[in-house]
Assembly symmetry: C2
Homo-oligomer: 287 residues x 2
């Protein structure tokens, strides 16, 4: 009568995302009628109508929107529970659990910092094994939430630290990376305004939540593509200072005077309390 089953949440989230019972059922690997029935039961048990059955498809009520968001969070929490338990169990050798941490890092981001952190931590007396999980921009939050990672390096303001515990590690300015032969590359410094509306160098667009923001720039999804497009003179990038590490010869870096500073944090789920994690954070804070 009162607690939701994860099965029901899974079903509802699928329907709410597809806004179509048939497609949702297919995605769930089941037939449509039982799915309809399950959602009806869910609505009856909650005493709330979640979906507006329009003549042509389905739309969410306000209560449905709430359940979509809260339900996603709950599903993430349960899969995190399963994953972390499995991992903890694999290390169930006697004489102390052999801990292991999964550290999510944006590919090629904060590379030098990461290197120093891993070296310093490895020198600790009872260091756990660190598995580095490279990921795309903005993926760290999801990885931490559903348990695929235990701790992450995040960069404000690109990543949102909301809901996580974190420790500040490094603050750096940002630079513009330009094609070496472009006129702007000769400048000593630039402002954001200088690079934001250069007709022949439109800012590249990263996918955000699976979709690309509108704009004239090329669509990219990793730093190598970006580097190549810059070298070809097609775009310009605004990127933290540490990116100097991977400059090509055809690139020129120019400091930006008014770009917001980028702060790299080490972040982890607020409720976690493993010794290995505490050690890693302590090491990181002393860098």
């Amino acid at each position: 009568m009162d607690t939701l089953e994860t099965r029901e949440l899974r079903y509802f989230v699928a329907v709410a995302e597809e806004l179509h019972f048939g497609r949702a059922a297919e995605r769930l690997g089941m037939a449509q009628p039982p799915l309809s029935r399950a959602i009806q039961q869910l609505e009856r048990r909650l005493g709330v109508s979640l979906l507006e059955r329009n003549r042509r498809g389905v739309s969410l009520t306000s209560a449905g929107e709430v359940l979509l968001h809260e339900g996603r969070a709950a599903l993430d929490a349960t899969t995190a529970a399963a994953r972390r338990t499995r991992r903890a169990g694999g290390a169930d050798s006697p004489g102390g659990p052999r801990n292991r941490l999964v550290l999510a890092v944006k590919a090629a981001g904060s590379h030098e910092l990461l290197h120093k952190l891993l070296d310093a931590y490895a020198a600790e007396p009872d260091a756990a094994e660190i598995e580095v999980l490279p990921c795309g921009i903005g993926e760290q939050e999801g990885l931490l939430r559903d348990g695929r990672a235990d701790v992450a390096l995040m960069q404000a303001p690109f990543n949102s630290l909301a809901g996580f515990d974190s420790e500040e590690l490094l603050t750096e300015g940002q630079i513009a990376i330009l094609p070496a032969r472009h006129p702007l590359a000769a400048r000593k410094t630039l402002s954001l305004a200088d690079v934001s509306d250069v007709p022949d160098l439109p800012l590249a667009r990263w996918p955000c939540h699976g979709t690309y923001p509108p704009g004239p720039g090329p669509e990219i999804h990793d730093q190598t593509q970006l580097a190549q497009l810059i070298a070809l003179g097609r775009t310009v990038a605004v990127i933290p200072d540490s990116a100097r590490a991977w400059l090509w010869t055809e690139h020129t870096a120019v400091p930006l005077t008014d770009a917001p500073p980028v702060v790299t944090h080490i972040a982890w789920p607020a409720h976690s309390h493993s010794l290995a994690l505490a050690g890693l954070v302590r090491t990181a804070a002393q860098l």
Copy 2:
């Protein structure tokens, strides 16, 4: 094969808390054998042993500890999803959802601030209805996590803000509240050391996670009991400055020079994004 059901989590948490299949089954309103079987299935599905069956009761393996903590969080998240959806659905009148927020406040804590906040917010053009939910010390976190509350007033360092978004509202010093006839009450200021080891005034003990810390002082669980014990000359309290509001005539307040400042925050679950909540936070930040 891969996602945990809420039922399984509920069962495991019950067993892990009771460390006894019989009592856990009773608490769950079921018989013991199916519970045993369910836990065995859970262990098989996770491929991990969660409980050490000693022939006199049960103890947790390290993986079991992980699942206990992560599972509690997941259960909280699912009950929060159900509760918040029900509340959002009750307000499903046409012409815009009639929003309602539950604000958790430690009974008698930050009373003046709360009063100002409620007044200021009520004056807002599209103010939602605010239900004030008084609670005990340190209960706010749980209320926010399982959806019984949407937003809370918390006092660092008494409350832990980990895992929540928050906004700072008020910083205040702390005072010692002494029996008026006690010699120390004549002092202009005191230090923590002055009040921490007065033989005839042992510090009172609050229950922490359901159990009392050891010590000589009396066990209390609300502010009225504390006030009375102070008036009787049995104990001394170290409390934020705003507590002057409820001083008795037999009490004397003396400022503490070295007590950590108490910062009152307004805090809410990091992922929430309701308009009503945003309005309340904005109002609070402008106080």
